[in-house]
């Protein structure tokens, strides 16, 4: 598996995300936001967490229109795998690769703690090894993780089994407890919790490692 991890000014989870991929056996190439083309032979793009462009205008808004943004959109349009975590999820919704939007947490507070999640759909290259209904614990660290989508959009997500993760105890006001969603072709995943911060027992848990391993397994068999 060959992964590209994008770094924007203000990204701060790009290294952790790269390690997450590497631990699953991937070769990782870091890509700066000013690049207009991705390296050849990329299997998956990781869009990391952080505060790209200082969260100016809206979280993820400027990053989604940056030079590398178009390359990510083209890659996804060709059926490429894209994993957006935290600010990466915000960027993917701002790009329109995933439906809905991330708003200010209902409590208005920045929340940083491990949270329990249910795997809502195992029908994706990221979640299949967990099995539907499995419970995992990933850290969250966000101020704007309150996922909102209109009723028709929500109905479509549910009908198409595109909710990947749900919060067991909703921390931020997200509609229907949604923590992560999949694209129509199930190859783009956006999620607020951080699987890349849960890949070693020393981090307090290693539930996230299976997500990267599952992806790596798909690539190996493809």
């Amino acid at each position: 598996m060959k992964a590209a991890v994008i770094t924007f000014p203000g990204s701060n989870c790009d290294r952790d995300l790269a390690v997450g991929f590497e631990k699953a056996g991937a070769q990782v190439i870091k890509v700066w936001h000013k690049e207009t083309e991705l390296p050849d032979g990329i299997d998956v793009i990781g869009v990391p967490g952080g505060f790209s462009y200082g969260d100016y205008l809206r979280c993820g808004a400027i990053a989604s229109r940056s030079p590398v943004g178009q390359a990510i959109a083209d890659f996804a349009a060709r059926g490429g795998y894209v994993l957006g975590i935290c600010n990466g999820f915000q960027i993917l919704t701002e790009m329109g690769l995933l439906p809905g939007a991330l708003m200010r947490n209902a409590s208005l507070k920045y929340i940083c703690k491990p949270v329990a999640l249910t795997v809502a759909s195992a029908n994706s290259p990221y979640t299949e090894s967990y099995g539907a209904g499995a419970q995992v614990t990933f850290p969250i660290a966000h101020h704007d993780g309150n996922y909102q989508i209109d009723p028709e959009g929500l109905a479509a997500l549910k009908a198409e089994d595109r909710v990947a993760f749900r919060y067991v105890d909703n921390p931020n006001g997200s509609v229907d407890d949604i923590a992560g969603v999949l694209s129509e072709n199930r190859r783009v995943l956006g999620m607020m919790p951080h699987p890349e911060r849960a890949i070693e027992p020393a981090q307090g848990g290693a539930d996230g490692a299976a997500l990267f391993r599952a992806l790596s397994g798909i690539m190996a068999s493809a």
């Binding site: 205008l57 809905g100 939007a101 708003m103 409590s107 208005l108 909102q148 006001g173």
Partner: protein
């Protein structure tokens, strides 16, 4: 020519910040504030001289960047 863009959350989208402001106003003794919605104002200095084409251009800017039309609505004012 200047353009002023008002960006607001769409009706029906819960505004947690507006709600917090409403509560704070209540604590300060301002009674009868039944709702607060918080938005943003963006002012643009434009080289354009034709108001109609400037307005059309700013609308495009709103759709592409200034507003997230999933949750926000906007109005454009040429001033």
């Amino acid at each position: 020519m200047k353009a002023r863009v008002h960006v607001m959350l769409k009706d029906g989208v819960l505004d947690p910040q507006g709600e917090a402001v409403r509560h704070a106003l209540g604590h300060l003794g301002f009674l009868g504030v039944e709702g607060v919605r918080q938005g943003k104002v963006i002012e643009l200095d434009l080289a354009a001289t034709d108001a109609a084409s400037a307005e059309a251009e700013v609308q495009k800017m709103c759709d592409k960047l200034l507003a997230n039309t999933v949750i926000e609505k906007y109005t454009v004012e040429i001033v």
